[in-house]
Symmetry: C2
Subunit: 365 residues, 2 copies
């Protein structure tokens, strides 16, 4: 996507945006109920300010591959094996969002029966924001966990080759009067898109974000992008990057090795030149709070946890301490009301999709 | 513990060390089977090279408090609530190691029945290395998870006060021909003991390990120790320290908020001047691999995962890529054979314990 150094953003109504994405997906043979899920996950990312996983990925991650049959438009999730608290699903190279919602729904039902459950998924594709699925636990008074592996973009400690994914971790827990706690993070220091932004602006990146082609920390974004790679959370070994590397390994083992999906370099990027199925793996888990204590009691306790953190003394020059997910909830509330800012170039792509697929363009510009 | 800038280490036989620790514990009314567990967890830490959680903590974390009745010498773990896949235990202010082994044993039994399970523990004390309990899953062909909260030593992102623990995460998965994958990490960049070592040597610490009393990164260990605190994994916000802060929150929510134990500053240090019960919380989980695929198949896959990482190109100047737990397994093999290096000052403390508690000193020096 060509982009000026300062991209132009246009605010659009979230409901309308979701509707047009849904209709575009339907035109490439995605069933309406599944198109609804995919559009909801994508627009939810934009609402929450996680642009890197929003509608800007519609073409590159999904539509381009759906249109040439490299992802199955009709996602048929099959149950490979099932015990009361652990199940394995096969997404049969369908859409990750549909597989994710199906798996987490099943996981929540199982946890309701036996107190806790986990579901792993193989043969899937990029599922968008990990937090979407973890948050599905919240209305059920459960704690939700969602992990996924991804194409390799980061390097292991003491390595120099991109062999590990930015493997995401999300955990959501319901509060009472406060907003829920929702951690949703990649296990790399930053996403690759952040490096690309610095490269376009021809600016140096902060130290410890990535390594050059020799595996050493560099502040030159071009070297991270070409030949080097992202550091796992923690940066180089000196600042304990091996912990982020270890966490990335946990995510890959649970969502890739255990599920029967790809792992390491066997997870192929959405833009794989050879068009191989991505074979992404996911891991979902749910804990039913009612099995431990009355949910109201848990929520009161989590409120206290949140307040004590927020009311704690601040770093000099800072006036707020944030809880995981707080900025995203604030963005969501503001954007649901005033519109979602979408990159003008991305809106043009959507307009082209509408024209090519005979979907009415819904915006007044 | 007084210590020269370069402490002297003496190698002692691990079995003998464990036996003398066990006998010391028995003399302060710990039942023999429980003393066996505690001694095993402590010496296992020294064997694995995790000195900070080994026998050097015998007095400060355990014995001093056992001798004045601030920890119950006889750990009676009660089952508060139990469903097939989720249970809550109360350690009744007993020893964390005994509660941990009891909880993980129960968790493994539950996972064998229903495929996956979690057990949370309240009213516990410092349980030593988190990895001990996660590794209990390995001989059962399960993946083990062990989390614990701890006394507050780290600061939240944009904060300046020690309000969050170094909250540990351990995940263990069995391999075939390779060593198991065992992540065992604190969610702070480094443990507080590492800062103390630099302070004693009057050396600067690397940037991003900790903050001074204003919440800003500092390289002065004395300011981190007095008034400041440890950074969560990732360091300050610029290098994504909010991710480590978020992970620390997940550990505290699962092991403290959910279990009914203390959390944040309500987990009291072993050396609490007011002698309050620590009220540490733990979280354990197990996934039965056989519920997903034949364990032999999983192990072959994990072997492949491990080898592909190890055989990946190295950073310039490095000749090995390590897997989580690998250094610890190598240390354990070497030390089981040639003896565990124990700080001479710590051995003197043990000698004093022996004299005071009428336990024969077993070493030939």
């Amino acid at each position: 996507m060509a982009e000026a150094t300062q991209p132009v953003y246009i605010r659009v109504d979230a409901v309308t945006l979701k509707e047009v994405v849904k209709r575009i997906l339907e035109r490439v043979e995605v069933p309406p109920d599944q198109a609804e899920i995919i559009a909801d996950v994508l627009v939810r990312a934009d609402l929450r300010g996680i642009e890197s996983h929003g509608v800007q990925r519609l073409n590159t991650y999904y539509l381009n591959r759906l249109r040439v049959g490299r992802i199955s438009p009709r996602t048929e999730v099959t149950v490979v094996r099932r015990t009361p608290a652990l199940a394995v699903l096969d997404a049969n190279n369908g859409m990750g969002q549909v597989a994710g919602v199906r798996a987490m729904t099943m996981c929540l039902e199982m946890a309701k029966q036996v107190g806790a459950a986990a579901v792993v998924v193989r043969n899937s594709n990029h599922y968008g924001i990990a937090g979407y699925y973890a948050m599905m636990a919240l209305p059920h008074d459960m704690i939700g966990i969602s992990l996924t592996n991804s194409q390799p973009l980061a390097i292991p400690t003491y390595g120099r080759k991109r062999i590990i994914g930015t493997n995401a971790i999300s955990v959501a827990a319901p509060a009472g009067e406060e907003r829920p706690f929702v951690l949703d993070m990649a296990t790399s220091v930053v996403p690759i898109g952040r490096i690309e932004v610095f490269a376009r602006r021809k600016e140096k990146v902060p130290p410890h974000w990535g390594a050059d082609e020799t595996g050493k920390a560099t502040d030159e974004p071009e070297r991270i992008l070409h030949g080097g790679g992202l550091f796992p959370l923690g940066g180089p070994a000196e600042t304990s990057g091996y912990k982020g590397y270890g966490l990335s390994g946990v995510v890959d083992i649970l969502s890739g090795v255990l599920s029967g999906a790809g792992f390491l370099t066997h997870v192929f990027p959405p833009s794989d030149p050879q068009g191989r199925p991505s074979n992404v793996g996911h891991f979902f888990a749910a804990l039913d709070i009612a099995a431990v204590m009355p949910p109201a009691e848990f929520k009161t306790r989590l409120d206290q946890f949140i307040r004590e953190l927020k009311e704690s003394p601040k770093e000099q020059g800072q006036d707020r301490i944030f809880l995981a997910g707080e900025k995203e909830f604030e963005a969501e509330e503001e954007r649901a009301r005033y519109g979602v800012p979408v990159n003008a170039a991305v809106l043009e792509e959507i307009r082209t999709n509408c024209r090519e697929l005979d979907v009415p363009w819904p915006f007044p510009f």
